[in-house]
Symmetry: C2
DNA sequence: GTTATTTATGTTATATCGTAACGCGTCAAG
DNA sequence: CTTGACGCGTTACGATATAACATAAATAAC
C-alpha cells in the first residue's frame, strides 16, 4: 500500500490518520521553503507544529501563549508575523469568522478553499470543489467584478458533535 | 411604469436609482417593525439612513462618529447596539472581511447573500443565487456538517474602478 | 575572512474592534 | 402609581492587530 497521493483532502470531522496530516504538511513546508528560498525558521516551524496539533483553529494570542512558554518572544507581533508567513506560504489559513488560524491541509501552494467550521468543537475542514469555484466565478461575472480573493466559510455542527449532543439530550 | 417588484437586487456597481434603494429599504424597515412589534427608534433609524447614504460598508466607529455629531451617544455600544439590531432584523449585513456593516438591499427578511466587495471603492453588492446555495449545501453534505450560517465574500475590483485605474495608467 | 546588506526576532507602544455591566428614562400593563 | 420591559447612555475593559524601532542572525559582496 504505497499510494502516495491518496489524501488530497483530509477530513478532520471523520476518523483519519492525523499523524499523517501533520507529517505531510511539515514535509511540504520544508520542501517548499527550500524551493522558494524562504526560511522556515524555528518560530515559524513551531507555530506550524502547534497549529497541526489538531484541526482546531487557534487565535493569534493563543499561539503566542504557547510560544512564550517555550522561550520565544512574548509580544503579539511574534505570533502575527509567523502566522502571516505561514498564510503567505499557503501553509495556514485565516478563518475570519473565528479570528483564528488553521494549518492548511492541502498540498497545493496557492488555493482558496472553503472552510467548514464546527461551532462546537471548532475544528475546521477545507474543501475546494469545481462547483463552488464556478458559483463564485458566476457571481463575479454577473457583477463585472474582477475577483482577487474570496472567502467561503460554512458554520455548523459536525457529525461527531451532533451525535454527542443527541446522546446528551437523551441522558436528561 | 409601475412595476413594483422590479428591483429584487440592485447592483451598486452599475448605474442605478439610489434614492430608490434608500427609500425602499426604509419603507421595508418601517413595515417590518410594525409587523414584528419591534421599535425602529431614532438611533436605529438614523444608523440605517447613514448606511444607506451609499453602498459603501462602514465600520462601527465610523457610524458612531456620525451619531455623536448628531447628538446621540458617543460610546461604542450605542453604535454596536443599533447595528446589531439592524443585522438581526435583516436590514443590514456584517461584512467580515472589512469589519464593517452595509445596509441590506433585498426585500427578504432572512437571507444570507454572498457579498461582492470592491477593494478600491469599498462598495458592497449582495447576490443570492441558487447555484451558490447548491454549492454550499453540497459542501456541507459532503462533510456531514449541519449548516447553520455561511459567509461568502468576494473581494475584487468593480468595473467602474477598473476603468478608472486604466485611465490613470494611460495618463502616466 | 571581513564588511555590507538583508532578513528575522524581539521589544514598547498604540491602534482598532468589540462587549460587560450598570443607571436612568420612557412607556405600557396591571 | 407601581412594576416591569426595553432602550439609551455611561464607564470600564477585553480582544484583536499593527506601527515603529532596536538587536541579532543569515546571506551576500568584497
Ligand atoms: Zn488531521
Ligand atoms: Zn464538532
Ligand atoms: Zn443604491
Ligand atoms: Zn470600485
Amino acid at each position: 500500500m504505497s499510494h502516495e497521493s491518496k489524501s488530497e483532502t483530509q477530513d478532520p470531522f471523520h476518523a483519519h490518520d492525523h499523524d499523517h496530516c501533520a507529517a505531510s504538511v511539515l514535509r511540504r513546508a520544508e520542501e517548499q521553503a527550500r524551493q522558494e528560498g524562504v526560511r522556515l525558521t524555528p518560530v515559524r516551524r513551531r507555530v506550524l507544529e502547534i497549529l497541526l496539533e489538531s484541526h482546531r483553529a487557534m487565535g493569534a494570542y493563543e499561539v503566542l501563549e504557547r510560544l512564550a512558554l517555550e522561550g520565544f518572544g512574548k509580544q503579539p507581533p511574534v505570533a502575527y508575523r509567523a502566522l502571516d508567513f505561514l498564510v503567505e506560504q499557503g501553509l495556514a489559513h485565516r478563518v475570519r469568522r473565528l479570528n483564528a488560524y488553521a494549518a492548511c491541509l492541502s498540498n497545493q501552494r496557492d488555493h482558496t478553499p472553503a472552510f467548514l467550521i464546527c461551532r462546537l468543537c471548532e475544528q475546521v475542514a477545507e474543501a475546494d470543489t469545481p462547483q463552488m469555484r464556478e458559483a463564485l466565478a458566476a457571481l463575479a461575472a454577473a457583477h463585472d467584478l474582477t475577483i482577487e480573493r474570496s472567502t467561503v466559510e460554512i458554520l455548523g455542527i459536525c457529525a461527531r458533535c451532533a451525535k454527542a449532543e443527541q446522546a446528551k439530550a437523551q441522558d436528561v
